[in-house]
Symmetry: C2
């Protein structure tokens, strides 16, 4: 099986690649080759794997090669994306990185089917809970479901939702076998804060664990659908491996989430790491971020994913422990733990 | 007021242009100039109006000039579109005519705002009831509403819905003041059958009135949301003239429809033109068309349009009489009437 992962140097993309390479198979077939594309090279452990071929640069500049490669792709995980904050600041960047790149990728995959007679590649697209937002005549329900009308309130959410539809149409036409899965907010992300307005959902756990102060820009009663990196990767793989009938139509589905308030997140942090760690989180409202977050869903359900056997984590403490386990080899990331 | 109408040589575009020129004002402002674009020149009566400037050719080839014109546009009615049948047969044509053209138009209008400091143009986009369709996990409700989840089942429907979202985002960003209105199936269209799978909804009235046989490709109990050309043009103008608050958010709205079965349409035809005219309609199921129509809504509601004061026709007989009145000057179109 030949795979392509876009956005493979990112946190989730690299984790997905690592998981797939460790499994060695996908849909019961041995994984022979994994092409990893991103703006940056993937982590060294991935590069060292003989099955990996890394290609660095904007996806838009790579699609001609993907189209014309001697070997096509049986499966594609399309994760490459500019994040929400970037897309708000730079409209053209978001349209190019998210919409044009996806469309060019679809065109390349279609070319291989229509011009070369290859079987349609199976494509899993990482969409986002950001497709949901309240519009004047369409307030958000308490929990967004697979059937909630998406009225995105950011360029990022619009672009993700538009790609869901383009993929659905290319699937109907037989150009790809596409499945769009909406990722919930993934915590705990390692590393530094990024341009996403949701960055603090990781920061208020990650920084205190590392002995650093963290600022929470929203009130403690703000609720949000959260998930772990492990569950997200598991969800993407399950969506890839399920049959079309199991997936259910061509409309995007929600991946499972644990719906939690910021206060509950911090209670879990205290339970895992102690009150001193929790005390490193300071509340300081940021009007810009609070305004964006106020227009996000307070929670979600995932009926279709549940039918695929996917379940949300049951405890945020488990998610925090997952982060600690995953990054135990990086003592600086957790240097504050001893003090906690 | 300077206006742009795309798709202005088409049946609805020309009717809209004619109506606006006859009114002489829009939003209380005198209409000084109307640029009409289409693949073909508009009808002679429009060309003869000194306020009209016709530009012929693909919209994509015209947007650079629209962007760089010395005079910008206060208002745009964007009706240009490849129809559903064409888009199914030629994927690239649909994407270019419907998606790329709309995006290029939005870019041109945005350029005038961002680079020239002009006020955002008010833009009315002719979307379509074709955004609605049943997907495996999302069956169609008995009546589609403003809040029904669009899961389009044609490339045309996907492209229209994607444009709705791109216009919503450009509106949020202040690049245009966009309003997307979903047109119901417009009957009675004059002229010849076109590539739309919905063409027969006009044909089964128009051809018998002209003394010709008509084939109805679906059963008499097939129900569909219909509207007249007059109500459609009225709806587009009302959506243009309403305030943003009246429009309600940035999500597309349904224009009103009269929900009718084919049998009820023919009853009305008989009431207006007699049993001999009705007898010219022969039922002969066309699997391809019946299959497409089976995936369309059986009816719709239009709560938001209703709040704007827009109402559906109350009688299909009125719609037929409207057609006869409008085309009374073209005796060949109605030559069968005497025999009815």
């Amino acid at each position: 099986m030949n795979l392509l992962i876009t956005g493979a140097a990112g946190f989730l993309g690299a984790r997905l690649a690592r998981t797939l390479l460790q499994r060695g198979t996908l849909s019961g077939q041995p994984i022979r080759r994994v092409v990893l594309t991103d703006l940056f090279p993937p982590p060294a452990d991935l590069l060292a794997d003989p099955r990996v071929e890394a290609r660095t640069g904007p996806l838009l500049a790579q699609v001609a090669a993907l189209r014309d490669d001697a070997t096509g792709f049986d499966g594609v995980f399309h994760l490459a994306s500019a994040v929400s904050g970037e897309c708000e600041l730079d409209f053209d960047l978001g349209m190019a990185s998210n919409l044009d790149s996806t469309r060019a990728l679809l065109d390349a995959l279609r070319h291989r089917v229509v011009q070369r007679g290859e079987a349609p590649a199976r494509l899993v697209f990482a969409s986002s809970v950001a497709v949901f937002g309240p519009d004047d005549d369409h307030p958000l329900p308490a929990l967004v479901t697979d059937a909630t009308l998406p009225t995105p309130q950011t360029s990022y959410g619009i672009q993700k939702h538009v790609c869901e539809h383009l993929i659905a149409d290319c699937t109907r036409k037989g150009f790809v076998d596409g499945r769009a899965a909406r990722l919930m907010t993934v915590t705990v992300r390692p590393g530094k804060p990024n341009g996403a307005a949701s960055s603090f959902f990781s920061g208020i756990v990650r920084e205190p664990l590392a002995g650093l102060e963290a600022v929470c820009p929203v009130e403690a009663d703000v609720s949000h659908p959260l998930t772990s990196p492990r569950a997200t990767v598991e969800g993407l793989i399950r969506v890839f491996e399920c049959s079309r009938t199991e997936f259910g139509g061509r409309t995007a589905l929600n991946l499972p989430a644990l719906n939690l308030t910021v206060g509950e997140m911090l209670d879990a942090l205290e339970a895992v790491a102690g009150p001193a760690v929790r005390a490193r989180v300071r509340f300081e409202r940021d009007e810009r971020i609070a305004g964006i977050v106020a227009r996000w869903p307070a929670g979600s359900t995932a009926e279709r994913a549940s039918r695929l056997g996917l379940q949300a984590e049951t405890s945020f403490e488990d998610i925090i422990r997952q982060y600690i386990d995953d990054h135990a080899g990086h003592p600086t990331a957790l240097q504050g733990m001893a003090g906690g």
